[in-house]
Symmetry: C2
């Protein structure tokens, strides 16, 4: 029996597995913590290390791109075929802070392997998931006999994701021409579980605002004046209460108007996921579910928008009581948005709604923070179908299900600026401990990531041609 492409890929990966893991461990030893100013040199060293490694991998172009903060790495490997589509892979090389005393069982910056798990800060988030692209592209070449990938392959690996990507959009806008792509592949997410491989199809967007409400010029006596003047803290509370109806639907006029509805097909595929509410509540550290009527928990967090109160404050919050009507109160709200919703329109709706709700005698300031657009790839998008096929090959023909991501991220900036669909290819699992002590990556899954990309570039080149 002659070698199939799949067996060639697997053999190639087995042959290079040890060197691949050694290299990854070397990278993981660099404590590229973007949030810690003392580590700025380490973050730069991490970028330099990665650029050198990408050149060694074969990328003809591998550059460190400075920003006003930590540097990103850009690499490019042209297909050498004028009809080849262009793919941009996104990831990040900075990591969350970590210290042994936070509860780690080993030094977070000295990788150790136990039972097929590689423990280190960044093992899953995100160095491991960036790094599988290096061996992946080599396996792709080995299996196809090509000297360049079947797609024009670009990588953009930022250095400030764990610090909120403050300079990312600016960088993407400045380098939009060089970053131009037909498809963006984000490798900074995960799968449902070790045994249920999934592809994420979208992230929620975000609009956020702060509302400051002013009543009396100073705290006043609630005995002398209570019952006759408006209380800004009460008004703040009433605003929050008025934001939802009894079905937990957001009452902002027009809030749901533009939403791309969840398809029946996607709902059915979500429902195939082995969801265990008790386990999910444990992860959420919560003691009950509550959400929009007519939707499951997964649909609520992945595919439905929210209006969430992140903080409220007003009046006396110390021990005991204080008989005052407070001078002011404050609300912090975020709106998670789903495909079709436009943060700018939501902000207008919030402004109008607020003006209609605040009673006479209360003044207010409304401030909006930065917003992020939602992103969603339809299930029938040809590039998504390619990812599913490639992943299914890596996972021995298993059915690939779909998830979405409830959070919001810099992927949306790529989608917006580059006007390209965003796909997600991640092999991390919920037990990997992102941002927690003992972060790890499952080595078998990491190699499935390698294998997936080894198949993906050829498939994509054909699908998008």
């Amino acid at each position: 029996m002659s070698d199939t492409p799949d067996s060639v890929v697997r053999t190639y990966i087995q042959q290079h597995r040890a060197a691949f893991l050694d290299d990854l461990a070397e990278w993981l030893r660099i404590p590229s913590v973007s949030a810690e100013p003392d580590r700025a040199a380490d973050v730069r060293r991490s970028a330099d290390w990665l650029a050198a490694k990408l050149r060694e991998t074969g990328f003809p172009v591998a550059e460190v791109w400075p920003t006003a903060g930590a540097p990103a790495v850009f690499a490019e490997w042209a297909a050498g075929d004028p009809d080849a589509p262009t793919v941009l892979v996104y990831g990040h090389h900075d990591v969350q802070p970590a210290a042994r005393e936070d509860g780690w069982h080993s030094d977070p910056f000295e990788p150790v392997t136990v039972d097929g798990k590689l423990y280190a800060r960044g093992a899953a988030d995100d160095k491991g998931q960036v790094f599988f692209h290096t061996l992946g592209v080599r396996a792709h070449l080995a299996a196809t006999g090509r000297t360049a990938p079947a797609v024009n392959l670009k990588l953009l690996i930022e250095g400030e994701e764990e610090s909120g990507s403050p300079h990312f959009r600016e960088l993407v806008e400045a380098e939009a021409d060089r970053l131009a792509a037909d498809v963006v592949i984000v490798s900074d997410t995960g799968m449902w579980s070790e045994t249920t491989p999934t592809v994420c199809t979208g992230m929620r967007g975000l609009a956020d605002c702060e509302i400051e409400l002013y009543g009396p010029d100073q705290d006043i006596h609630s005995g002398s004046f209570g019952g006759a003047v408006p209380n800004p803290a009460t008004v703040a509370a009433r605003l929050v209460a008025a934001l939802h109806d009894t079905d937990e639907r957001v009452t902002l006029p027009g809030f749901y108007d533009d939403i791309t509805p969840l398809t029946d097909a996607e709902r059915e595929l979500f429902a195939e996921l082995p969801f265990d509410e008790t386990a999910w509540l444990n992860t959420a550290k919560s003691h009950g579910t509550l959400g929009e009527a007519g939707y499951s928990t997964l649909e609520r967090i992945w595919a439905r928008p929210t209006a969430e109160l992140n903080g409220i404050g007003g009046g006396y919050q110390g021990p005991g009581g204080k008989t005052i009507i407070p001078a002011s109160a404050q609300l912090k709200l975020t709106f998670r948005l789903v495909a079709g919703q436009d943060p700018d329109k939501i902000e207008v709706a919030v402004s109008q709604w607020l003006a209609s709700q605040v009673p006479a005698g209360i003044r207010y300031d409304l401030t909006f923070g930065a917003s992020t657009r939602p992103c969603l790839t339809p299930l029938d998008h040809p590039a998504l179908q390619s990812v599913v096929r490639a992943m299914s090959r890596a996972f021995d023909g298993q059915k690939i299900l779909f998830t979405r991501e409830g959070g919001s991220g810099p992927a949306a900036d790529l989608q917006d600026v580059l006007a390209a669909p965003v796909l997600f290819l991640g092999i991390s699992v919920p037990s990997d401990g992102w941002h927690a002590p003992d972060e790890k990556v499952e080595i078998d899954l990491l190699l499935k990531g390698v294998e997936t990309t080894a198949h993906l570039w050829g498939d994509l080149a054909a699908a998008l041609r």
Copy 2:
């Protein structure tokens, strides 16, 4: 023309005015600030000074009563008539903190007289209003030729009113027999204005509680979980919003059931007061009125109960935003209560209401603070009629109108423990600057207080016989 009792009283007061004011100034020089531990000796000195002065005035009994905190002063002067009613006068000898640098134009503990106003901390609140009883009882004797007052006159002048009267109820309960009285007269309030003499007929009561709400075990990510679990800060806000209906009526079941309704007569008399909403809003430092439908501003603050939010807090309150669902939130509420309402029943109603409102997945703690009963003297009460007559004589026959007090105070403890109606006799005016820099008392009004009490004891003795 022979001397009328009124002219005898006035002449007596004129003759003793200078000495009276000198004595008061001496007392005002003692900085009896109960809230400042360093002033404890001064508070004791103030009590000793007053007891000595009351003995000098003629009170056969004048004692300093220690408490676990600052001492009170008790004095008693029997009428020597077995049918004479007993009156207990309440006031306090401690004062608010004051320092020149707070904005005083003279030393707060060095009284100065300018344009008929005596400036000093305590001039109005409450030493001046306690002190008018000394010259008052002497003028009463002078005008009637008696050697003892027409009523059994008792004084209880506490030393911790400005610190929340923490030991007052305990003291009143312990000494209930010696304090027993047919009527309590509180001289720690004021009148509508210099030109509109009024009598206060009641104070609101108070119930207060703190509600702590718990959601997730720690702050959780509002992207990953938002829309699917209950948010304790949102629940806190919804509780506040649910506490009132659109007519600003409190929705607690049974809240209004036991209220002694405001009579038409009292509403008409309130309406005769020269109320200026703009001026009132200035005093309230507020920019609009809002309250229970169907009631005027004065009715709302004096005669209607409230549910007021004194403080709310939950989640992130720092600069910028934080995408969390908070672990907990907190509410501080006070209920001002009016005649007929029982704080104990209100607490039960709050407990039941809360249990019915909090959704699954949110746990809570409800804690009640100390409560105070409301007090109210009906307009047709004979003792109140005596006060009105005595005051009208002092104010040259002017019509005496009625107010109430929106706040709550230790008067309610006297009402409860002694089972006696509480009347209010105060001559302070809103411009006197209680608790503020440049506190003062209008000397003419202070002497009207003297004159009122000079007439009151004889009138009361007849009215209550």
